[in-house]
Symmetry: C2
Subunit: 416 residues, 2 copies
């Protein structure tokens, strides 16, 4: 039988020390997830999760064609059309629609789902990725938008990035809608217009000019509107709040951003690296009508959120050398130099672990040098060694100082 | 449009306070995951993960029919036969086979995957669950089995359970194989025999007698073998090590356990609640030939592991009242009683959060009483309130003591 491999576009995550730089590194993922959880907590966000498999209808309901044709979908053994989740917002809207009555508003929720899309592979795009999703539900005031954007900034700052590394480009569907309605009376063309604006930076001026002309709007006017970058009242309030927070250097009005998805309604934003070498780090905005849509009209709550994927983010952190060195996984390496003392040594290993100490030890008879080398490779803080007289030799591997302790004194030393 | 619902057998996880007792509670899940990570760390295990979607072949290769017909499988847009992972061991074996050379042996790895099976729904069985998977790869000595079983026991102890709550039933495929080979020369019937033994406790004696008779083995002999519970040499070494660890009360020899899966080779075990009200909490054993199978014969490493699901475990913890009360998510509720001081208040909110303090505050103008009530409901430790003279009134919500501080003194108070 041939050797099995993983599916293309999917990652394995290996423990340190990762034997090959192209392999996924679990320590990096944990560092990102831990930071996401720490900073969302500071902002009073609470964690939720939903299933990675949902009904296909949930995605058909809201996303427009740009997502549906990229879905991993199939018919299950119960004849249900199902799809692996490509984004978290529909699941969130479904959960909110069903149970929002039990929660005080505004609700500040976050999640770290794994998401799946069948896409052509390219840099920073796989077929799965993890995403921090943070949402505020039940508050229409721009103060909520500012709170959410401040969270986004602080997550990136907590990972070691500064305003020299990234910027939030802030825009408004409202502003673009007003622009559109002044120039085109056919509301059914609005989505086509947003799509054209969304692709401005990725297409040639000629292609964009042609697309816009079909809607009866001039490329020139669009570019002038982006240049002017005149903030709406909502955007101005957000800018003022960012200033009060001392975060004004991290944000700028930029109507070049509009967000592709159909369901955004008001303020939208994306985080980009300043050098423009990477894809967007994060993006989000208001989706005030989505909960109503998903709930079949039963629940109507203004909402906004952002998603920050782990792939582009990890590429940037690696590029900037911002991942911390591997943390030592082991506190004490308990050597066994005298096999007659194996049983008594195991007893002490257990007692140390009972106190919460991370202990490694030789499962089978091994030479003393090999054990010491293992302790160093594991980055252990100490070696311990039970001796015939019942004392334990404790060696600090940083200072190389050695002392002899009774088992009781050893336990006291490592008390939590 | 009608309201959307989640798929049957899948769970949503809601933040506290969960509005309905039947809903999944994220806090419970986090408590279990955190404990899993804490205790595995004590034992020197390192975390890994793999994709939730794998090639169908990976599962066909190893699991026997008992799993394959329960898979969520389909053909992807690239014409690949794929399946959502029903268990973690094949993924682990695949990763090990590809990259074990870069790691010191034994490798002690753990993961917390979500797993998927299309099964008839019943108590403690959904169509998805999370599972702690802990494995030791590259050590054939029973010392590794003892280490792994001790980890299993300590995970359950760390969750608040004692030897009065659960027991590890320890058995051996080797012992059963010797039993089988003394009575039946046809090795092709071995798997059928293991299956019959595995189902002894769930089927009538008559049904079991009939099944065993077909293989030419008497029900009476099987029951007597189980009764005698004579430990093999390997099992005795495990028992001795558990005694050295002071964990002997948590374990007993019980040949009634044999594990259904085809790939186990030596020691096998399951954790059960003492009262026998729940399904198995965890189960595992040696699978010394699996890595060889998955690697196409290239890599041969003795291995063993266990899986502990979150569903039965959470049912037990709930039943015994062992889940902790909700932890306060908020350290400080920053009130805004004077709207003229909103901007200055936001600045202080930001500065506190920059120090790692979890702060909540009113996004829009709200009455003072409502704010104070919100602080209490969030379980905040303090309220803070910026006053016109620039001082901050800080109230300890436990002692109800109040003091006035300068902003600088406030920051110093909440320094990490």
């Amino acid at each position: 039988m041939k050797q099995m491999d993983r599916l293309p576009g999917f990652r394995d995550f290996f423990p340190d020390p990762v034997p090959h730089p192209d392999l996924g590194r679990m320590e990096e993922r944990s560092h990102i997830f831990n930071t996401w959880r720490q900073v969302t907590r500071r902002y009073g966000f609470k964690e939720y999760d939903g299933p990675p498999l949902e009904t296909l209808d949930l995605y058909k309901a809201k996303s427009g064609d740009e997502i549906v044709h990229q879905l991993y979908h199939f018919t299950d053994k119960g004849k249900r059309d199902v799809a692996m989740r490509p984004e978290m917002t529909p699941t969130l809207a479904r959960m909110i629609a069903a149970h929002q009555r039990g929660y005080k508003k505004p609700m500040k929720w976050f999640s770290i789902p794994q998401l799946f899309r069948y896409e052509r592979q390219q840099k920073g795009r796989l077929r799965e990725h993890f995403q921090l999703n943070a949402d505020i539900i039940g508050e229409s005031d721009p103060s909520a938008d500012a709170e959410l954007i401040a969270l986004l900034i602080d997550v990136l700052r907590a990972l070691g990035m500064t305003h020299e590394d990234f910027v939030i480009r802030l825009s408004s569907r409202d502003a673009w809608q007003a622009f559109f309605q002044e120039r085109c009376q056919d509301e059914s063309k609005a989505y086509e217009f947003y799509q054209a604006v969304d692709k401005l930076e990725r297409e040639t001026p000629e292609a964009s000019t042609e697309k816009l002309a079909k809607i009866g709007i001039s490329y020139q006017e669009v570019m002038e509107f982006i240049q002017a970058a005149e903030p709406t009242e909502d955007l101005q309030r957000i800018l003022d709040q960012m200033k009060a927070r001392g975060l004004e250097e991290y944000i700028k009005i930029d109507y070049g951003v509009i967000r592709g998805l159909a369901y955004y309604t008001g303020v939208v934003f994306e985080a980009f690296d300043r050098k423009g070498e990477f894809r967007a780090i994060a993006g989000g905005g208001r989706y005030d009508h989505l909960v109503k849509l998903i709930s079949g009209g039963k629940v109507d709550l203004p909402s906004l959120g952002f998603g920050m994927g782990d792939v582009v983010l990890a590429d940037m952190l690696r590029d900037k050398g911002l991942f911390p060195k591997a943390a030592a996984a082991v506190d004490v390496y308990f050597q066994i130099s005298d096999e007659n003392l194996r049983k008594e040594s195991i007893t002490l290993v257990q007692r140390l672990r009972d106190q919460g100490v991370a202990v490694e030890w030789p499962l089978v008879q091994t030479g003393g040098k090999k054990q010491f080398k293992a302790a160093l490779e594991l980055g252990a803080g100490y070696t311990a060694n039970l001796m015939e007289d019942g004392k334990v030799e404790l060696k600090n591997l940083n200072t190389r100082e050695t002392e002899e302790l009774s088992p009781e004194a050893l336990m006291a030393r490592f008390e939590a």
